[in-house]
Amino acid sequence: MATVQFEDSMVSVASGSNLLEALLHAGHDIPNACRAGACQSCMMQVLDGELPAAAQQGLKATQKAQGYFLACCCEPQTHLKVQRNPASQSVCAVVVDKQLLPGRVLRLRLSSELDYRSGQFVNLVREDGLSRAYSLASVPELEPELEVQIRIHDDGQFSQWALNDLAVGDSLKVQGAFGDCFYTSENMQQPLLLAGTGTGLSPLYGIVRDALRLGHDGPIHLFAGARVADDLYLDKELKSLASAYRNFTYTPVVLEAEIQPDGIEVGDINQIMKAHYPDTKGMRAYFCGSPERVQKLRKQTFLAGASMQDIHCDQFTPSSQAVAA
């Protein structure tokens, strides 16, 4: 057992527990989602004391150097003094629009004062504390509301509640914005390669529109994967974007189709992307979706020539609560 000084209070972390649990138990409002070291929502900064190595596992060198660590993976052995991640905000948001899209995806538009980059993610927090991480499909310079696209799971606690009980006019807490999967305009000629399956498409939709808005010059190619054609839930929006911008190409990919659908490729999205781009040298890539999918896309793209620092990924990890449900 060790004690941790947080803001003006002191908490004890029992052995076998972690700092996040101890802080939540003591009534502190700490952003969190997966509680497994993946989503990085509970990132904090150490001011004094020695962190256990596990608390910084998987962080970038720049983050470690600044003393950032994950509260959910931190079982302190000695006294620590810590503070909130200065980047994280917690704001109130009001539902202004709710729409069911094809492929069992719920689109929510929320009015809020959050500062963010398109493609980053936030935690949506229900009144009782139930929270889930969702990527932002909106572009702050293009539309005033935050937009999230929520996959409806049959046994999903949050998504079922959002679908059935959450109404226009209701309010939610939004924490964020997190992640470093977003567009930066340092090289406007660089070809951009994007791929995502399911609602992995939502941050990519934001990133593409952000790049186009800023006048990205190089070619931009987005591969959107779904099981069947009916699940390509942003098909209409992406097609109209492709006809509006000469340098933007949209390739829908489905896993299953009895007859070859018009304008859609059938097969594994990784293989199809590889066939289009056997050489990725000099390209910048953005991949979003399930961890297995994203890891394969990253590796194949790196092996095909792209530099690791040009490959940006957002892995959608199911929260531990969702897995247990």
Partner: protein, 137 residues
Amino acid sequence: MCSFMNKLKGLFSGKEEAKPSLYERLGGQPAVDAAVDIFYRKVLADDRISHYFDSVDMDGQIVKQKAFLTMVFGGPNNYSGKDLREGHKHLTGLNDTHFDAVVENLAATLTELGVGGDDIGEIAGIAESVRDDVLNR
């Protein structure tokens, strides 16, 4: 082996003050950044050793390999023999063949970057000097 030792002696003797260090000649940290992608790609494609490097945490792998390249380029590093032993102890079955494969990929990376034969020899010499620590013997 003898020439390695001579080169190592030359490297560490510090007598040739006018001559920039190996790390400076290679181009410092930007040279490490340029080498790391090529080197990592080579080891991932090498069936003899790829399983030791094929981690889901590719960003973490890049960080470790930059530290390794900085060391063998003669740059600033905080590696001790103990760190190298600790860091490789959990890798079961690690032996000379694997070490040789890493050195081979390192040399191929440097050749690709246009580094001269003498400098490659010097770098291989530094890598060679940690062989026993890495293999924990």
